[in-house]
Structures are given as C-alpha cells and as structure tokens.
Symmetry: C2
Subunit: 195 residues, 2 copies
DNA sequence: AAATGCACTTGATATAGGTCAATTCACGAT
DNA sequence: ATCGTGAATTGACCTATATCAAGTGCATTT
C-alpha cells in the first residue's frame, strides 16, 4: 500500500466519511512526502514549526532541553500520528521543542495555510480534525491527571495498558523520560514488578 | 450586561465573526442559565457529564479523589471558560472527576447534541470552537511540559506570570493542589521568594 | 577477535517535597 | 465581643525519586 493510500484510509476511518477522487487529488498535490533517517530532526528548537507531518512509517520523540542540559520527552509518536509543535505551528512562534526521528521516518507534510484549505474544502478532513481534537483533549486530560495523581509505578503500569506498543518500539531510557523518571528509577520499577 | 450579551460578545471576539439575530435566537433557545451556590457540584464523579457550561460569573474546580482520599485539582476555571469533563461529555462515559463551584456560579449550559447543531448552523460558533481547540492544545502542551521539567518553585512562578488572577480568586490550598503540591510546600515556597 | 560504544542494571548517597502535628490567623455566625 | 471553623504557617521527620559511580551485557565497527 502506498503512503497516500495509508493516509486516505486513515482519514476515512477516523472521520467516518469517504474522500472523493477530487479530495484525494487535492491532498496528493499539497502533502509532500519527506524521509528522515534515524537521529535526524523534523524540528529544531528555535525554528518555527512550518510543517505538520502525518507519520506513515517510523517513530519520533518531541523533547525539550532544560538549563541543566537534561532532556524531557513530551511526546512519543508512531505511525498514524501527527507530528508538530502545535504552539509554534498555529502561532508561528519559534519552538521550544525538538522533534527527532527515533527510527527511519516517513511523513507526509503540509503547511498551516494548506491545512486551512483542506478544512474548508474537504468535509472528511474537517470531520477528522474535529475527532482528533477531541481525542487529544481527552488524552491530555488523562495524562495530566496521571502526572499529578499517580506514583512512578502507577504511571508505568498505565503506560503498559494504554500504549503497549511503546515497550516494543522505544528504548527504556526514552520511556523513562516520557514518564518523567530517571532511567535508573524505571529500571528498578521493572525489577520489582517482576518478582 | 445580561448573561447572554456577555456570551455573545465572547463568541464574536474569539471567532472574529459576527452573530446574526437568528444565531442569537438559536443560542438563547438552547443554552440554559443555571446557578450554583458555592460548594455545589456541577458534576459528580460517576455521573455522565451531560452538559457543557460557559461560565458567566464565578469560579470552579475540577478534581479527582484518589484511593487515599487525597484530592487533586486538574483545572481551575473562571469567567469566560468552559466547564466540562470532555472525556465524559464526548464519549458519554461516567466521569472520574468532580466539578465544584468555588464561588457562587452562573453558567449557560447545553448538551452535546445541541453543540453539534450549533457547530453546523452557526459559523461564528464553529470558528470559535476551532480557536478554542487550538488554545487548549497549546495550553495543555505547556502545562504538561511545566509538570515534567519544572521544579515546584518554577511552576509557581509560571502560574503567577500566566494566571495572576488565580492568586486573587483561589485560596492557597487550591492553588497548591492545582500545582501538584502540598499546601505546606506552597507556603514555604512563598515564604522563600519574599525574602 | 578486539575494541568501541550504548543501553541497562545495581548500589550508595543526596534531596525535593510529602506527612504529621502543633500553632496562629482570619472571619463569619451567634 | 466571643466562639468556632477552616486556612495558613512552622517545625520535625520521612519517603520517593534523583544523582553519581561503577559494572555488565550486547551490538557494531574495525
């Protein structure tokens, strides 16, 4: 299946609507395929996030670096997820985040101005945007609650049940950072839960 | 200014579009005013969040209670904010949250089905929804980053600069809980930063 | 096969922030 | 004015998690 077929299926499935041939032509004309090798950056801190990318293949992490040089992973992303720093993308502000490919990465990317066009012209695209926005809001609410009310161990168990794929796809130190833990602490948590 | 005038101004300002007289009639027909006294609940854990409320006056907190009986405040809300547990509201699932009035509260409320209608029929309403969704996404991203990378003191300073009104409107123990801190810790942080 | 480099583990120690208990403060109700 | 209640402060102590340092196991490169 080609990259665009994957993408079209995704839109139709999430939105519950069909794309016309015209819709598909429009999307193909303005979403550009882009490939990144592992370790390459989709976005660097300080740059404006001009593109939003739909991940067709591979994985990425969104992270900040604090004054002490410590990295904090905010988001881990896999196939069929969208990749962007939304604050920078919507407001055209320089980003405080880095987005780096953790595996070889293939995305379909487009600009904010184009997305506005798709929203106006393609009903399935706009329906998809609404569903995604709902899902994001819900996921954020959950994650925030987990961060505030759960212990390290509970957050790890939560991750296992909500995103079991993460354990296969991401190294443990990345998962630790995503959970807001040091790699040592995650290692000890795993040791204890196996006994 | 009446409740609805406040509401209409808000929609027009956020969306950048004007409401027609028909639009206004439609909104007035399906947003119901509701008043809650301080301490009353807008939503109780276990119930489905049937209504979304627009706060015209007053304030509220959204919180969970963990197994140890500790409360965790996820959201503090003031005038011109929306009040709902979106997970429960969108998915019609029983809520894990409580929403309680912290001051006497006046909201305009409506149901999910009605909101869908407004989105279809009122361009300004739908434009507003898009802007709000962007703002939420950005605010969530920021708050998550703060929770993961900042110390307690930095989070408090962040709050002071982003939401100075909170200090006037909410008691310190609520703010502590919102920041994920014990009241004692927040008290000590304030003491230190005054020296 | 040796060498290099990472991810992961393990142990010892440090620290931010939590918990518990006592005290003071503010204010609404009588 | 006084009482009562809940908020805020303060001190002593505790705990979860971070930090630092050393060691182990595996791939990848040479």
């Amino acid at each position: 299946m080609s990259n665009f077929e994957v993408f079209f299926d995704y839109i139709q499935e999430i939105s519950g609507k069909l794309l016309s041939e015209d819709d598909k032509r429009l999307l193909m004309a303005h979403f550009k395929p882009r490939k990144l090798r592992k370790r390459q950056y989709f976005l660097q801190e300080g740059d404006v996030c001009k593109y939003i990318g739909f991940i067709v293949k591979g994985s990425a992490r969104t992270f900040t670096v604090d004054e002490k040089g410590h990295e904090h992973i905010l988001k881990l992303s896999l196939e069929n997820w969208w990749l962007a720093d939304f604050e920078s993308f919507y407001l055209l502000k320089p980003s405080r985040f880095n987005i780096e490919a953790l595996e070889d990465l293939e995305v379909l990317q487009s600009t904010n101005a184009q997305i506005e066009e798709f929203l106006k012209q393609i009903p399935a695209f706009s329906a998809m945007a609404n569903v995604i926005s709902q899902n994001y809001t819900i996921a954020n609410q959950k994650r925030m609650q987990a961060a505030m009310s759960y212990t390290a161990e509970e957050r790890y168990e939560d991750l296992i049940s909500n995103y079991p794929q993460f354990l296969q796809r991401f190294p443990q130190n990345m998962i630790a950072s995503y959970l807001g833990l040091s790699p040592e602490t995650l290692s000890r948590i795993r040791k204890n839960s196996f006994k």
